[in-house]
Symmetry: C2
Subunit: 417 residues, 2 copies
């Protein structure tokens, strides 16, 4: 019996464990005995359109292990949504590529937008009477996919950020001077405050420990209340540590990150963290330091959450099971069975029901004054950052993989977007 | 025989291993059997002036182990230089505190400025015919103390930054798009480029790996040459990763960090990294991400260099030996005996000979075009980031210490600066 091929692709921002999902997909597909070749697209859905495929047969067992522990997206990524207004040209092209390479299964790793693509591609297959089975693999450091208790990628970023706030908080506390010191860390999160909230784990329940304030997009930024709280903390402790999600907004809904004005009225382009830090300095006179970990927070393979990596592997493995079982249009989701000790399993979710939705911090996770998160938020997040899985080290640095992919020969004319 | 007391203090910016030196001082002083009480000053030399002393007797063996692995300065720190123009008031006060608490030995942990204080305090003791012995303990992430092959604190910060560049480089490579992507990381280093240079270890000798460009204060920033190089790298690889030391300067000697102008001529206050990233965007049109690890780079106790920590402990332990041997005005320095395998020992250096000097990257460590560092620089730095020493973890976070210090009763009137 002819075996069809499986195609894996990932899109959107990468994570520290996205390759663990990829490696699990490859391993599960091989182990099934039912899959011919396991292809990966170079640069996500754009790579499918461009027929830029990689044959993962070149990865031996040792290379798969190495892939699973390497942060970043080994097969590249892209920021591209399948168009709705191209008369079906992109969709036609996808199916032409599937047919040209005998793709029976498409596994698509991504966030909310990618789950929309999964639902649309599966619906298109049904419309065409095409046998393609398309299954989603959830992933995002933002933790904002609906239908899953958490998202692979979040736990490791959360662990990195909580550790960073713990360490920088100790540093800031050391540097307490007579004038008051403030440390501000800006973290990712344009629309949701999950990563900002994660830094609250550093305080371990003690209101005197960093971070003393956590600003999330779910609460409007009330400058007067914020500054009053900073002053109160500095007057009590001598210093104050603040986490700022990049997407916090003023009461009128405008983003702090877009622009702010300095004392002379000049427009200052810069992040929300810098804007907040400058405002503290202007209004309260405190010295400030600020950090923006940016990509560091989503690529810290040296400090993974073992729980997160296990979940990234599980959704990859189970996605192959769903695909081979013909459960197109689904995505494996993490279900929480118990908080402590933490127990979880994987269940199937219909991507059409969750696509393009966005999961914000629930009301019970944001403190009423909008300046911190609650114990309930910490209880939810704590198990997600647990478990050690240090990387092998060579020469003082993590021993990550590097690949030179050989492209699969193209069978179609070049794609014109 | 009456045993005199020993006083330990640390000043200036803290490091991830400064407490390892402190713990080694306490342990060595206890083990000597020749020291009465081991005091620590709260907030460095300011704490001595303010007679804010802590009796470390409260730290049992387990607490000392915990102290040694906790980043930040457990006894606080300060940025304060002993004045030259106060008619000797501060010096008088220091000796009054020494006498009030029967201090026979002062161990002062810090950088160039602190070594100046060590030399001056020892000279003052000689002038007064006072028996005090003052010994320095070198420390700085900047690695700029003269007379020592490297500075405790640098190796761990270097390891953290090289790992961060390695990981963020993988992330940036994943996100390669059609428009070119640039990642800029701004690291500490107002006057010297040691920490920026350390990120070059991430490339492991491969010019195609991040960082592709390293800008250090020792080379003037030639914008045209820099932009040409960025363009060349992006055209070849699709992306480019750049390390920027905060203190880089234009050919006229002005700091980029102080101000730059946007396309409309507005003054933009911000760091050198942001200024460089914006310039790339304005002139070349590439998308950019930028990071500023700030305090994270000097407090990453979760990813220490074991070599660095061993050296931090050694200088603390040996400083006690020098003190007890009456070698006032010295500091223990690291001497490199061999590159590979790395071997080192500790030798005495006269603080008066090195005080207030600053060790820049030597010419042979900066590439002739000023856009990267050399193989010789990497060969020098590589052993300093080696060796694993992961912290114990509780709840997913490093299990660091916290202390509530009980102040020693004051015996003098309050200090009026």
């Amino acid at each position: 019996m002819r075996q069809q091929n499986l195609l894996y692709a990932h899109s959107g921002g990468v994570t520290a464990v996205i390759n663990a999902s990829a490696a699990a997909v490859v391993a599960a597909a091989r182990a099934s005995g039912r899959v011919g070749k396991v292809f990966a697209a170079w640069r996500g859905i754009v790579g499918v359109l461009e027929e830029a495929l990689i044959d993962t047969a070149g990865l031996d067992e040792a290379a798969l292990v190495r892939l699973a522990r390497t942060p970043g997206g080994a097969f590249g990524s892209c920021r591209f949504d399948l168009p709705h207004d191209d008369g079906g040209a992109a969709m036609d092209r996808l199916f032409a590529v599937f047919d040209a390479h005998d793709i029976g299964w498409l596994l698509y790793n991504g966030g909310n937008g990618s789950m929309d693509a999964v639902a649309r591609i599966q619906a298109e297959a049904a419309r065409r009477g095409h046998a393609l089975v398309c299954v989603g693999v959830p992933k995002t450091v933002d933790n904002d996919i609906v239908g899953t208790d958490c998202c692979p990628g979040f736990g490791s970023a959360a662990r990195y950020l909580a550790t960073s706030m713990l360490e920088a908080g100790l540093d800031t506390a050391s540097m307490v001077g007579s004038k008051g010191s403030v440390f501000v860390m800006e973290v990712m999160g344009r629309n949701t405050g999950w990563l900002a909230a994660a830094t609250a784990l550093a305080a371990q329940g003690d209101p005197d420990r960093a971070p003393h304030i956590v600003l999330v997009p779910e609460a409007r930024f009330d400058e007067a209340a914020f500054l009053a709280r900073v002053r109160e903390i500095v007057e009590r402790l001598g210093y104050c540590a603040v986490t700022v999600a990049e997407g916090i907004r003023r009461p009128d809904g405008s983003l702090l990150m877009e622009k702010s004005r300095d004392a002379r009225g000049y427009v200052q382009l810069g992040g929300a963290g810098l804007a907040v830090a400058r405002r503290i300095n202007e209004r309260l006179g405190y010295k400030f330091h600020w950090a923006i970990p940016d990509y560091l927070q989503r690529s810290a393979g040296h400090w993974l959450s073992a729980t997160d990596r296990a979940q990234a592997e599980a959704v990859g493995r189970v996605a192959v099971e769903y695909a081979l079982a013909g459960q197109g249009g689904t995505m494996p989701a993490i279900r929480r069975l118990q908080d402590a000790p933490y127990r979880w399993d994987v269940v199937a979710v219909d991507t059409a029901a969750v696509a393009n939705l966005e999961r914000s911090l629930p009301d019970g996770f944001v403190r009423a004054d909008g300046l911190h998160v609650t114990t309930a938020a910490c209880d939810y997040m704590r198990p997600l950052i647990e478990g050690e899985i240090p990387p092998p080290v060579a020469g003082g640095l993590p021993d990550y993989g590097r690949w030179d992919w050989a492209p699969v020969a193209r069978r179609l004319a070049a794609w014109q977007a």
